[in-house]
Each structure stands twice: as C-alpha cells, then as structure tokens.
Symmetry: C2
Subunit: 319 residues, 2 copies
C-alpha cells in the first residue's frame, strides 16, 4: 500500500509538515507522532544523525538517527530505573561505577545521588551527544558537573576490555537500539568483557528493549548472558515510558557470581530485593527528589506479564 510516511534514519526524513513520526525497521508499521514546535538543532556526527526539537507535549526531544532517546517529560523514568535498580540491589554500596553510552548525562545524574560513590566513569563513543545535551538538556547534563565523573570519549567496548579485572561495582550500559553504532553492545564478546570488568557480586545492567515488541531479542540476550554470568544471575525489569516504542522499556540485570568461578556455595544475588537505601535529592546540583523509583517500584518492576514470563522461561534466573 502506498504511503507518504517518511522512512527512518534521520531527523530530516522523520519530520514532515510540523510533525515528527518515529519510524524504524525495529517496529515496522507503527510509530509515535509528536507535534514539533521548533527544531533547535540538527547535526551529523561521525557516528549518527543528531537532532533536538521542542515538542508541543513532551518538552525538548533528543533524536539519534531519527529515534527518540530522551524527552524532558519522561526521561526520569528510564534514567532512574536503569540506575537505581542495580544500585539498590547491590549488597554493599557501590564505590566505582562505569556507564557505557548514556552521553545525555541522565544516568550520571542519578548515580551522583549516592554519597558513597567515589568514581563514575563514562565511555561514550560520540562527543556530539554530551555537547548537545549540555546545551539543550541542562536537567540531564547536570550529571556531567559532578566532580566524581570522568568522561572518556572512546569506543565503549575497547574501554571495557582495557579496564582491569574486577574494576567496577556496577556497569550500566545505556545504549540505543541494536542497529547502528550500538549493535555491538548487544553481542557476546562485549558481555564477556563486561563480566570480566565487574567485581564478584557486582552488577551489569543493560538497556534491553520492550517486552511488547522484542521478546525474541530479549530472549536471545538473556540466554547469552546466562552463559556469560555463570554462577551469577540474570533477571529482567521494566519501566513505563510513553515516548519509547510501545510505552515500555526493560533492562537486563546481570549479577556476577560472588566468587569468581561461581563456587563456594553462595547463592547468586537476587536483584528483586532492594538492599541499599533509596537515594535522596542532590541539592548541590539542583537535582530534585526521585520522581519514579522507590523500593516498592523496584520489586514490582521484575514482575512480568504472563506472556513475557512464558516467553523468557529458562532464560532468567529470577522472575
């Protein structure tokens, strides 16, 4: 059937007649449409098409290769959940954390809420993303101003491979979808490197798509992680977020075995139980109270609808 809808891949193609529609081969035949008030920025980095626009209903919107990464209206849901679920699940407070991707700064902002954290490293491949975020998304980019943060513009895979073994309490992989520059962040060699770089009993938490759209991708990813995190655990949590495809996104929470080979009789970490206190606001940076995450939201986020629980059967340690 003929269609005048633009094809995906760049903001130029996705914005038409004052409306943006999020189209992608990742979700064929559907897409969220947002009314555009003003296009604030258009650029092309070495890696991707970057666009910022002011929308009528969602505040400022960041697009990479024509796909929504964050909006003022609902970014807190994703950023809080991908940061605080693993941070609060850890058995002892995290001191050293790595973020792979996440160049908008929102996850940094959430990690900065914890006074016990001493170092936060970020490996972001595209320097244009932090630059654009600092200019157009001050409430997310505030994370970069925390003195414990070091930003490395580099290939995240290489950065993880070069990290000493057992370097981090937590690694958050805040990637875009597995098409384009983020594709390798969904593959086994990267997860093997992540597993090596995190300490025994530590956690790797990765952006892991939507149950409603990509149960097959999630299943393959979880099965692969179960092979890599031998003796540890692999679990899946979700959050609601209106501007992501299907209104929901999930994260895979992989805990490394407490002893390196998974021996010694200690049970793997069950991330469904929060163990660290809910973090508070960060007045020094003007970061307000949490808006989405709480301990009860934490535990409820691991409860999957029947179709998803059945679909992921055997691939998850706890569900």
């Amino acid at each position: 059937m003929a269609s005048s809808k633009p094809s995906p891949g760049s903001a130029d193609q996705a914005i038409n007649d004052g409306w943006y529609t999020e189209l992608s081969p990742m979700w064929p035949g559907q897409g969220l449409s947002l009314k555009v008030k003003e296009i604030l920025y258009r650029g092309k980095s070495d890696f991707q098409d970057v666009c910022v626009f002011e929308s009528e209903s969602m505040g400022t919107v960041l697009l990479l290769d024509g796909v929504i990464q964050a909006t003022d209206r609902d970014e807190f849901s994703y950023q809080e959940m991908i940061a605080h679920i693993p941070m609060c699940a850890l058995e002892r407070p995290a001191k050293k954390v790595l973020v792979v991707g996440g160049g908008d700064g929102g996850v940094l902002r959430e990690l900065a809420r914890y006074p016990e954290v001493q170092e936060i490293h970020m490996a972001e491949i595209d320097k244009m993303v932090p630059e654009v975020s600092k200019k157009y998304f001050p409430e997310m980019a505030v994370g970069f101003t925390d003195p414990r943060v070091t930003l490395h513009i580099c290939d995240g895979i290489k950065y993880v491979e070069d990290s000493p073994e057992h370097s981090y309490d937590l690694i958050v992989v805040d990637s875009s979808d597995p098409v384009g520059p983020a594709e390798v962040l969904f593959e086994k060699p990267f997860f093997e490197a992540l597993h090596r770089a995190v300490r025994p009993g530590g956690i790797v938490c990765t952006q892991a798509e939507s149950l409603w759209l990509h149960l097959d991708i999630i299943k393959a990813l979880a099965a692969m992680c179960k092979e890599v995190f031998v003796g540890g655990s692999v679990s899946y949590a979700t959050t609601t977020i209106p501007t992501y495809p299907s209104g929901q996104i999930g994260m895979l929470v992989c805990a490394k075995a407490r002893t390196e080979q998974g021996e010694g009789g200690s049970a793997p970490l069950d991330p469904r139980t929060p163990r660290q206190a809910e973090p508070g606001p960060l007045p020094a940076l003007g970061v307000p109270d949490l808006q989405y995450y709480s301990h009860e939201v934490h535990s409820a986020a691991f409860v999957l609808p029947v179709f998803a629980k059945k679909g992921l059967q055997g691939c998850l340690t706890f569900q």
Copy 2:
C-alpha cells in the same frame, strides 16, 4: 504552526495516505501512528463514528470516534486486568456481574472463565459495537456466546439506576474516554448509582485513564469515589498496553463498605491482595490460558511510580 495532520473525531479524518494517527484533545500534540493495510468497516451509529481496519503491526483495530478501543495484538492486557483484578480481589466468588459499556465483548470473555459466575449482564448503549465486534473480532466477541450473558442495549446509567439495591458482586465500567457518549460515566450521579447497585463488600471497577497523561482526571475521579464509597476503599491499578495513549491505562477499584453504612468495625477490602484463584482457560468457547494477568501481576499493578503516588496522595485508600 501549520500542520497537515488530520483533526480527530472520525476515522475519515484520522486515516491519511495509508496511515492512521490517533489524535484527540485528550492528548494534544501526540498520537500513535499505525500503518493501515485495509479498511474493513466504516459506519456511523446513533452515538459515534465506528471504524475497523486491518493494521500492519497490531492486527485488526477498532476505532470509536477515531480513537483506538481495541486491537488484536494487545487487547488481552486491558480486558484481563479490568476483569480479573476485581474478580480475584473479592472475598467470596462473584455470582452476578454487570458490565457497563464493553460492547466489544472482551470483558465478557474474561468473566466467563469463572465457573462460579451465574449471571453476567451487559448494558451497552450502542448496538453497532457488539455487531461489529461479532463480525471482525471473533476472539473478543466470543464472550457474547456464553449462556450466562444477557446483553441489554440501553443507557448504562439508567440500567444501573433501575437495578435493585445490592444486585451485583461486581460492576465493571468498560467505557471509552470522558468525551462523547462516555462523559457521564465519569460523573458523581453515576457512581452513586453504581454504589447503590453493588452489594456490601462488592467492587466497582472502572476504566480510569493514564497516569502519564491524566493524573488530574484520575485525582478528581478518585476523590469523588472516596466520597461515594464511604467506609469502603478506593485504589488504583495500572497495566501496560502499547496501543493506548502513553502505552498505559489504569483502573479505579472501588470496594463498597462491608456493612451498608461502613459501620460494624470491619476494615475496608484491600484489593491489592488476590483472594480468588487465577481463572483458567475456557475450552468450550475456545478461550486460551491467561496471557497477562497472574496473582503476582495483580499485586504489582497497584504499585505506582513516585510522581503518581504523590499526585494521588489523600485520594486513595490503599496505594
């Protein structure tokens, strides 16, 4: 800013160039777009514009006044949750249930799973909806074939007002949004009639919009219900559903005081705890196992993100 997007209100206006976009004054500046394979039905009833189309990604789609009511792909989430949360929360199995609206038949299908139910009444104002559903949505309309179901084509408010006091164990209000024919289903006189028609300890469960879009509407509705269900309880649960605005919808669960005046010292029913067994498939009608609802999903559905919990503070009995 000029825009070529159609205005809402009818399918003719919402379908353009092979794509449908769901626009409404209820969610200005945004809308889900779906690629249309084929328009199967267009009609105008005494109450609303009715359209059915085959989509590329969501199966068959039912529109009323240009707004999505149900799609093959995800209708089970809403239908299961609005039926099984109250059914399983009741202290003794429901025998007599009323559905106001719900003319697609999906809620009837879910209620029919319970062998203890003796009578299921439906008050649907628009006869075109069941007719169209029977033709184009056999998997939802199968609910009408259950011998315990009686369909009344009538004004739901009048039907509830005319029902004897304490008639029902449960009343499900499966309405469209509070614009057009369903507007009165969000007002106090209707809730007073519902409260009268349900038995002490019984439940009224109503479609109650999205936390992300309509916290103000939900707050007003909950506050009003708290006045009406004196001595009982008012709680709010949510479910994810990609084709509803923002990908999420909620329901208000109102339990009537166990004794008529809320006296006698018995605590109000806490609907967060399931008390009845999860219902199974219904082979006689070809209804498969549950796809979304389980007891653990039931309890998790009442856990609200911080922004919503704060926004509804004081309006809900349990949250």
